[in-house]
């Protein structure tokens, strides 16, 4: 379908964008890549009076890697993250996850910040940011504030963003040298939203009986209203060699996740698949 009529503005600075958002309040919608928003306009699920296209604001795109932290500008496309050598070297979790996001033609346009603001519970970047303990940089007329990804996602498509506020960047601490990352998901078709996925990280060090996993982090997508950090499963796996870690995490997982059925997959099947992915991901971390 065609979207209903709206006005369009492309501010050239943050200040101008804040003006527009303030002036139009609830009637305005921020437009970044548009790969979620324009689809919802076309389906007439949303009908804002004004689109504020933020892609003309300088300084909001790009990847800057420092020693212990990587900063990803909100307007950085999924594709730019996928292709970045710096991301490949410092945050392999993101490099692995990128190819699961939609298709190349959508990754060329959709943005990192847009995905976080959208907060789809089956999206890849939110779960990665939770696993990596990323911090979002939010800006509004009142100034800048920082929110941990682990508290930013409030509910289904619901975030801590206030009216008139923009995501401007995400800062991600770089895990240590002996950390490993594994991103896995199951989808009906390459590029579809995940049925279940996991963003896993751990340090793989020498233990008594093979490699022991420490600083284990497991964040799931597609199994709750938000990305889910599985703290019980993480604690259960902590310090154990991979095989034991997997069994312990799998046993603890139903204390973390209470998936609900979607159109194609029952809650029980989702739980089963989450356990299967947990086993595979922890094995990959120790491999």
């Amino acid at each position: 379908m065609k979207p209903p009529s709206f006005a369009y503005a492309r501010p050239g600075s943050l200040a101008e964008a804040f003006d527009l958002l303030e002036r139009h309040g609830e009637d305005a919608k921020v437009l970044a890549g548009g790969q979620s928003l324009i689809a919802t306009l076309n389906m007439r699920l949303s009908s804002p009076a004004v689109l504020v296209d933020v892609t003309g604001i300088p300084g909001l795109a790009g990847i800057a890697a420092a020693k212990d932290k990587v900063r990803i500008g909100a307007l950085t496309t999924h594709r730019a993250v996928e292709r970045s050598a710096e991301i490949g070297a410092t945050l392999p979790l993101l490099a692995q996850a990128a190819r699961h996001i939609a298709h190349v033609a959508i990754r060329n346009v959709g943005t990192f910040g847009g995905s976080l603001a959208m907060a789809d519970p089956a999206a890849e970047w939110p779960a990665c940011c939770v696993a990596l303990d990323a911090e979002l940089v939010l800006a509004s007329r009142a100034g800048e504030r920082r929110v941990k990804a682990r508290t930013f996602f409030r509910g289904l498509y619901e975030t801590d963003l206030k009216p008139g506020e923009l995501v401007t960047a995400v800062e991600i601490p770089v895990p240590g040298k002996d950390h490993r990352a594994s991103f896995m998901e199951l989808a009906r078709r390459v590029g579809d939203y995940a049925i279940v996925g996991v963003a896993a990280l751990a340090r793989a060090g020498a233990g008594k009986s093979g490699k022991a996993l420490t600083d284990v982090r497991l964040a799931y997508l597609g199994v709750g209203p938000t990305p889910m950090l599985a703290t019980q499963a993480m604690a259960a796996a902590e310090g154990k060699p991979a095989a034991d870690a997997a069994a312990a995490a799998q046993a603890a997982l139903d204390r973390d996740l209470k998936p609900t059925a979607d159109l194609h997959t029952s809650a029980a099947a989702k739980m089963h698949l989450a356990r299967v992915l947990t086993g595979r991901a922890l094995a990959a971390l120790a491999a």
């Binding site: 324009i38 009076a49 190349v104 078709r189």
Partner: protein, 163 residues
């Protein structure tokens, strides 16, 4: 606030300026303003790939981009790629391998396949399938399309990438 905006886009090498409604999709701009009907609408919400065009050299969904968002940018359509000969090898392979029946999906398929040819000319069959997974075809069952793309990539490798 403006509901219509003056928009300048370089389409297949030619600069065009029109006053367009903000809600107009890039594909409607191409089809209705310029008569370029190669990019099709299948789903109009990003799922089928029939609307694939290139913006600043990268493939995008023409139904998920507004014409005003393409202001100041370069757009290439199937008509441009066909006329320049850029996809002649792919077109011949689609013909040879019967990779189209009704042809509705074909412009989008060719745009996506050419993107792969440019970025990963050594793609395996599995990688071809993954790359083309964003394009729906309701006729062929995909097998012939994958055959054609594989053929074209092999042939262009043999001829040293020359088309």
């Amino acid at each position: 606030m403006e509901h219509t905006l003056e928009t300048t886009i370089t389409v297949n090498g030619t600069r065009v300026t029109r006053r367009v409604s903000a809600r107009q999709h890039l594909v409607d701009f191409l089809r209705e303003e310029l008569g370029l009907t190669g990019a099709h609408y299948g789903c109009e919400h990003g799922v089928c790939g029939a609307c694939t065009v290139r913006v600043d050299g990268e493939i995008v969904r023409g139904c998920l981009m507004l014409a005003v968002q393409a202001n100041g940018r370069t757009v290439d359509t199937i008509e441009g790629l066909s006329d320049s000969g850029e996809i002649a090898g792919l077109q011949a392979a689609f013909h040879r391998r019967n990779a189209l029946q009704c042809g509705f999906c074909t412009p989008g398929m060719l745009m996506a396949a050419q993107d792969l040819a440019r970025t990963r000319p050594d793609a395996t069959r599995e990688e071809i399938r993954e790359h083309m997974s964003g394009n729906y075809c309701r006729c062929t069952g995909y097998h012939a399309i994958v055959d054609a793309v594989e053929d074209a990539l092999k042939q262009s490798a043999q001829t040293g990438g020359k088309r």
